[in-house]
């Protein structure tokens, strides 16, 4: 079976349980089991080749640009791990089917489990370290889901997050390490990397790469000081613990160290980091395990200890040690999985895992007891079980290991660890099963059905068989695995009896000491509990809480909702980088002569400056500042006229008026004064920022004004072709409707959108509770009588058609003279607004026949359609055309598509301005206002009414 398929099968299988859950729990488990089984069978088809020393490859490119390929390979090491993962996985699937209760969402469980299984298979078969990273992180993610499976339990959520955080952190470090490693080796393919030991170990980057990769491996394999997450992961359902935390996930780190052993091991750095970490972890785990009362916690620390053991062996860097490591990986997987399942059974039956509440179960659960006994003795390293064999190897190797000149340190500590190991193993057996039967179990313990104990029983059989017949049973497997790990062919001796070696004495001492410790346990336990010691979980949570608080502090502190500060930061930042940009360039001398200052500009400047200054001083009086803004607008408009920009002057002043009307409409509902809120220092700071920015812009403007263009401006082309190609003499207008008509198209759309937004806002506000407020609102100022004075009404009636005439004039002349659709539109709109102001909203709105939305829409559509019309000539969008028409007796006149485009502009502007103003005016609209009469005081009407009354 293809390696792709083997790696993919669990993932494919993960799809089914979730979908099949409606079909029942058995179908669910069956689907999961089938996927695992198929993958296992597929794996086994490669067994002959593996045992023959072959390596199987499967390659496909994924992201070759990065060197990431979906390359898989299977050698002894991969085969061993894949076998463990898939076979124990099968057992777990079976076990879980009976372990989980009806309330547990089993479909999800199997989905997560298979995702995890797939990720693990992926790790052990990857031939590309980037691909391996992907699977690596996937195990973190899927284990997060598995650990947090019981989401209602706080321990589950915390444990899951802790595991994810720690292993995720390691994974991220490993990303960096792997990228460095691949960079040194010139490839991310493991088979290539493994060929480059010299290059890697001589590189300057070897140590950082090693540290980063080991960080990943250690966190995953729960090595000191990252061991603390593993016990908290025990909040997971027991099948998860049995799978992830004995046989698979925690072994991923070991796998990685083994995988890269040929290129990373053998240096002093490797030895001191890996072996020492392993040694410390082994001892520490064993010690803590002895004092854990929770069965699963005990097993978890035991696992930590055994992982340390294997790590230490890998760290020794010798081939013999590698053999020992491989062997112990197998042994630990068998007995520890069995023990976890046993603990699960006890929990399941007795409804507690607390050793202090257990004991005497031997009588009630003989089968479980048998399994636990065998597996437990193996864990303790008691012959003839498999744990003994590999522990002997470890002790033997430790006995010959020299640590920085000290011959005794490693053997002594290893023996001590073994001693504790014996003690906690015996405690597990004795305090749970031995002793008198108790009356106060929370549940009614008895042996479970076959389904639940089958899996551990099978593993226990393996424990025994491997122990007794290690050579023939696992010898070849250990051999090919060791070959793969070491990249050589080390001698593999697997025997129960080695003779009277130092290891045997150490072992015996450990057993005796262990028994002694167990006897002293009650006394030691009290001492342990009284002794102050750092609580890893508290430290971790403290750090996380600290980081979270920091994050929250930074986030809230920076994003405090004060846009005034955001804006100040923006201005200061802009100023800073602009000064940097300016000072790092060069500025030539002025190339233009300064123009003389006439009376008019001087007066204009003075007006502008004084008005602006007054706005600053008096801005708290909002109405007054609007009047002052009116002055500024007027002066700016006059300046445009003076500086040869009549079109701009027209636009500026018309926009100005509409803006003022708009602001006045809004101000009606707002406070009329601005309070003083900022302290003087803040105002000083703001003033400083503003002055700095103003000086900067003024300097820039001055520098620019005093120098000519560096190249001829493209506007020379516009001047040359405005009449010939654009048919108009007003270059500005021709640019607007022709050369850069697309800008104008966008511009009218902006205006149309603005009106739509305002309309939508009005609707939203008037649909909210604000409406009631508006209806009941008392005017906050004196209301003079006669809202619609007759003089104004009459004048605006006369003015409106005239203003529209002017608009038409401006519109048609725009192409050749100042004007155009935009200004015409504003004037037309103002002509209508005049009616609103003079005769009242209700009166005017009632007489307005065209919906403003429609006017906007038609404007944009007319402009767009004019643009599209060009397509019929097979020329681009907005290509203009013009021609001259002669109709007797009239003189020839021009027809231009640009005028049609300008008509679109005109309509859009009229619609937009009116829609915006009308929307705003609706806020003030009170029901019941008379819409029949424009003029409030009209004696003619009163006379008429009086006459009618008299007649009637």
């Amino acid at each position: 079976m293809s390696l792709f398929l083997i790696a993919a099968l669990p993932f494919l299988g993960a799809l089914f349980p979730g979908l099949l859950i409606r079909a029942g729990r058995d179908a669910c488990a069956f689907a999961a089991g089938l996927a695992s089984l198929l993958a296992f069978v597929g794996l086994m088809t490669h067994a002959p080749a593996i045992f023959a020393g072959e390596v199987i490859h499967a390659r496909v490119d994924w992201l070759p640009q990065l060197g990431l390929s979906a390359n898989f390979f299977l050698d002894g090491l991969g085969f061993l791990f894949a076998t463990l993962i898939l076979s124990i996985g099968l057992l777990i699937i079976l076990y879980a089917r009976f372990y989980l209760s009806r309330q547990d969402p089993m479909g999800n469980f199997y989905t997560y489990l298979l995702l995890f299984q797939g990720a693990m298979v992926g790790i052990v078969t990857s031939d590309n370290i980037l691909l391996l990273l992907i699977f690596w992180e996937l195990t973190s993610l899927s284990s997060f889901l598995l650990i947090g499976f019981w989401k209602h339990l706080p321990e589950g959520r915390q444990g899951a997050r802790m595991a994810l955080t720690v292993t995720g952190m390691g994974g991220l470090a490993m990303i960096a390490g792997m990228l460095i490693l691949g960079h040194i080796a010139g490839s991310y393919d493991i088979s290539v990397i493994l060929q480059n030991k010299e290059a890697i170990q001589s590189s300057d980057l070897y140590l950082p790469a090693l540290l980063l990769i080991l960080l990943g491996a250690f966190t995953k394999s729960a090595q000191f000081p990252f061991h603390f997450w593993l016990p908290h992961a025990m909040a997971a359902p027991t099948p998860v613990s049995a799978y992830l935390h004995s046989a698979t996930m925690v072994k991923a780190g070991l796998f990685l160290m083994a995988r890269l052993w040929p290129v990373l091991a053998g240096t002093d750095a490797w030895f001191y980091i890996v072996a020492t970490t392993g040694l410390v972890t082994m001892l520490l785990g064993a010690v803590i395990a002895l004092f854990k009362d929770d069965l699963k916690a005990l097993l978890a620390f035991s696992t930590v200890s055994h992982l340390g053991l294997i790590t230490m062996l890998l760290g020794f860097g010798t081939k013999a040690a590698a053999v020992g490591a491989v062997f112990h990986i197998i042994n630990h997987a068998t007995f520890k999985a069995a023990l976890f399942m046993t603990a699960g059974i006890v929990d399941h039956e007795a409804h507690t895992r607390d050793i202090k509440r257990l004991g005497g179960l031997r009588h009630l659960m003989p089968v479980t007891f048998t399994i636990a006994l065998v597996a437990g003795l193996s864990m303790a390293g008691i012959p003839p079980f498999n744990g003994f064999l590999s522990k002997e190897m470890m002790l033997e190797l430790a006995a010959h290991t020299d640590w920085n000149g000290s011959h005794l340190l490693v053997p002594a500590l290893a023996t001590l660890a073994a001693l504790f190991s014996v003690a906690y193993s015996f405690r597990f057996i004795a305090h749970t099963f031995l002793g008198p039967k108790r009356e106060d179990y929370p549940g009614h313990p008895h042996d479970p059905g076959f389904g639940l104990w089958a899996s551990p029983a099978l593993l226990t059989v393996l424990v025994v068989v491997i122990g007794l017949f290690s050579g023939p049973v696992v010898g070849p497997l250990v051999q090919v695995t060791a070959d793969a790990v070491t990249g050589a062919h080390p001698k593999v001796y697997l025997k129960l009896w080695h003779g009277f070696t130092p290891a045997l004495y150490m072992s015996a001492g450990a057993i005796v000491g262990g028994l002694l410790l167990l006897m002293l346990h009650r006394w030691l336990d009290r001492a342990w509990n009284d002794a102050p010691r750092p609580e890893a979980k508290a430290i971790f949570e403290g750090i996380i809480a600290r980081v979270t608080d920091l994050a929250r502090g930074i986030t809230d502190g920076l994003h405090n909702g004060a846009i005034t500060r955001y804006a100040a930061i923006m201005v200061v930042f802009t100023l800073a980088v602009s000064i940097h940009a300016y000072t790092s360039g060069t500025l030539g001398l002025p190339t233009r002569k300064m123009m003389e200052i006439g009376l008019l500009p001087a007066v204009g400047w003075l007006l502008l400056v004084v008005a602006t200054g007054c706005i600053l001083l008096l801005h708290r009086n909002r109405f007054l500042s609007l009047i002052l803004i009116g002055i500024v607008g007027l002066i700016v408009s006059l300046s445009f006229n003076y500086l040869s920009a009549p079109d701009l002057a027209l636009t500026q002043i018309s926009v100005e008026v509409v803006t003022i009307i708009l602001m006045l409409l809004a101000l009606n509902f707002m406070p009329k004064d601005t309070p003083i809120e900022t302290p003087p220092l803040t105002r000083l700071r703001d003033g400083g920022i503003a002055v700095a920015a103003g000086v900067g812009i003024a300097a820039l403007a001055y520098a620019m004004l005093m120098r000519d263009f560096s190249f001829e401006s493209i506007s020379a082309f516009h001047a040359a072709n405005s009449y010939k190609g654009g048919g108009g003499t007003n270059m500005v207008n021709v640019i607007l409707v022709d050369f850069r008509g697309f800008d104008t198209f966008g511009e009218i759309i902006v205006l149309g959108i603005a009106a739509m937004v305002i309309y939508a806002l009005t609707e939203a506000v008037l649909a909210s509770k604000v409406r009631a407020y508006l209806l009941n609102r008392k005017p906050d100022m004196l209301m003079a009588g006669d809202a619609h004075p007759g003089l104004m009404v009459v004048v605006t009636r006369v003015m409106m058609p005239v203003a529209l005439m002017v608009a038409a004039y401006i519109f048609f002349r725009g192409h050749n003279l100042p004007g155009g659709g935009f200004i015409a539109g504003l004037i037309a709109a103002i002509a209508v607004v005049m009616q609103y102001m003079a005769s009242g909203f209700g009166w005017a709105a009632e007489r307005q026949r065209f919906p403003y939305h429609g006017i906007i829409g038609s404007g944009v559509l007319v402009a767009a359609a004019t643009g599209l019309g060009a397509w019929f000539n097979n020329v681009p969008f907005l290509t203009s055309d013009f021609g001259y028409v002669h109709i007797e007796p009239l003189k020839e006149f021009e027809l231009a598509t640009a005028a049609l485009f300008d008509l679109g502009v005109f309509l859009a502007v009229v619609g937009a301005v009116l829609l915006a103003l009308e929307s705003l005016a609706r806020f003030a609209w009170q029901p019941g206002i008379d819409t029949d009469h424009a003029i409030d005081i009209n004696p003619a009407r009163d006379d008429l009414a009086a006459n009618e009354k008299n007649e009637g």
Partner: protein, 543 residues
């Protein structure tokens, strides 16, 4: 002349006014037209991408005026990709908005939506700097409308801030464009490239100020620290489907930086040398870090998604600010990923928000909790850059591209640690919202329902699943996509093809459309001396 080039701009520009003109009171028809427009846009975008994929640069001369004198649209690999991205995202968001009923909670949603798309499309396609400003404004003003869609006090307040901040940005844009024009005398990007490259040393000071101000404008859009402050409150208070659409807006800024600072102000151009090397990369890294901290520190799911968007922008800008072809390719790959991811996260946040409100805390179990949590999990993976989704690949690409940079250790450290912090934050939020709820004492059958019953819940799920599915596809197809990205990056750093194609016609003579009169500049004078179009001329009847 390939009119397809302008279709992404014109199509929504026709649909939107049609909707407000004719369909204002017919939400069903609005939806039909809006979706049809988005589908059509997607088809057009696919066709355009296919056309651009071989590396040809196409130019569309609006008004038949050649560059640099008129405005041109330019289709190359990069703009095609961005157009496609926008179209697909737009389709997804409009479907979600319909499914969730958001489009009915205020006036003019679909018209604004189409205009928004038009603005974004135009910004990606235009080859003219001032036209870019215009399209920025189009997309901004449409976004103002969408942001406050549905109303509400907080939304209005955030809306004011959003608008004000961006108005300052627009002012800066004009200062920048003015400065550039004052020095170079041109607005066309390709022409700018030519002129800036030939700029005499005596003019560099002014030009550089313009160039840097322009960069800041784009940085505001892209939400680069310390110009990102507008984003969190705006996105979090906007209707979240709108925020999902806004996911593309930060990319407009990123795109503009990528375009202008490889084409015109590339670091190898003397006039632009040393402009931003000193601070852009650190700022980008800070952005990623602040975003990650924000994810961890968020109290509210909208903020969480918003800060997620910021951190991915940080990563993206980190890649861009390395200014190498490899890094640009990584950035291009990452753009698509981060857009879809941020959008999906916002949509999922909306699902949560609609059902149980925005705070990141345990609430009674909501409807569809399982499915939503699964979607959140996938989106979170993508956002944090965890395998197996494209975020991981994107991050690897960025890290890989940064390897030879002097600040490489910083880049690596910040990106990786930000990832970790993001993971922490997302895990924290996810467990609180989806898991902890199960720990609450609630009646067995209690299910918190959405306050606004949606017209079609299924459609919302289909949309989100579709977006995440696209992410999956994007991950699997990373190889071909990266080939495209690398080719795009190569185009960016070898700007000759772009410049030459755009300016190919600059010396084309101008024809008088009215041949009969073309022998004289002012033909009226031939007929009648005093009807010459001076102040007293007769052409006012040109209608």
């Amino acid at each position: 002349m390939n009119h397809l080039l302008i279709a992404p701009v014109v199509l929504p520009a026709l649909v939107a006014p049609f909707i407000i003109m004719a369909l204002r009171y017919h939400i069903d028809l609005q939806r039909v037209f809006s979706v049809a427009s988005c589908v059509l846009l997607t088809v057009i975008a696919v066709a355009l991408t296919a056309q651009a994929a071989d590396g040809t640069v196409q130019v569309y001369e609006l008004g038949n005026w050649q560059a640099p004198f008129g405005i041109v649209l330019v289709l190359d690999r990069l703009s095609a990709l961005m157009v496609l991205l926008t179209a697909v995202l737009g389709l997804g968001v409009v479907l979600y908005a319909m499914g969730s009923g958001w489009d009915e909670r205020g006036a003019n949603f679909h018209a604004l939506f189409q205009f928004q798309l038009m603005g974004i499309m135009g910004a990606f396609l235009t080859g003219d700097a001032f036209n870019l400003f215009v399209f920025f404004e189009v997309l901004l003003i449409a976004s103002y409308g969408l942001m406050i869609h549905g109303g509400g006090t907080r939304r209005f307040q955030a809306g004011v801030q959003y608008v004000v901040y961006n108005l300052i940005g627009s002012s800066l844009f004009l200062f920048a464009l003015g400065t550039l024009y004052a020095v170079t005398g041109t607005l066309n990007m390709a022409d700018l490239a030519v002129r800036v490259a030939e700029l005499p040393a005596s003019d560099t000071a002014i030009l550089r100020v313009g160039a840097i101000m322009l960069l800041l404008v784009f940085a505001i859009k892209a939400a680069l620290l310390p110009l990102h402050f507008w984003l969190p409150a705006s996105y979090a208070n906007a209707p979240l489907p709108v925020a999902a659409l806004f996911a593309i807006m930060t990319k407009v800024g990123a795109y503009a930086i990528l375009r202008m600072y490889t084409l015109v102000f590339a670091p190898d151009v003397p006039a632009a040398a040393g402009l931003m090397e000193a601070w852009l990369l650190p700022a980008a890294l800070m952005t990623a870090a602040i975003g990650a901290f924000g994810v961890l520190g968020s109290r509210e799911i909208g903020h969480l998604a918003a800060f997620g968007a910021i951190t991915s922008v940080g990563t993206l800008l980190t890649a861009i600010s390395l200014f190498t072809p490899e890094a640009a390719a990584a950035a291009i790959y990452y753009i698509v990923h981060s857009t879809f991811t941020a959008a999906a996260l916002f949509l999922i946040a909306d699902m949560v928000m609609e059902r149980q409100g925005g705070e990141i805390t345990a609430k009674p179990v909501m409807a569809h909790s399982g499915l939503i949590s699964a979607l959140f999990f996938v989106a979170a993976i993508a956002m944090a850059g965890m395998p197996p989704l494209s975020g991981f690949l994107g991050k690897l690409l960025v890290l890989d591209a940064a390897r030879d940079h002097a600040l490489a250790p910083w880049v690596w450290a910040v990106i990786l640690i930000s990832s970790l912090v993001t993971i922490l934050g997302l895990a924290r939020a996810g467990t609180a919202i989806f898991w902890k709820s199960h720990g609450l004492d609630t009646p067995e059958d209690y299910v918190a329902e959405a306050p606004n019953p949606a017209p079609s819940t299924a459609l919302t799920f289909v949309t989100v699943i579709g977006l995440l599915g696209l992410l999956g596809l994007y991950t699997v197809a990373a190889g071909p996509v990266m080939r495209y990205a690398e080719a795009t990056a190569a185009d960016l750093f070898d700007r000759r093809a772009y410049v030459e194609t755009v300016l190919a016609n600059r010396d084309r003579p101008v024809e008088d459309p009215n041949d009969a009169h073309s022998h004289d500049t002012f033909h009226h004078a031939d007929h009648n001396e005093d009807t010459y179009p001076q102040p007293d001329a007769q052409s006012e009847e040109s209608h």
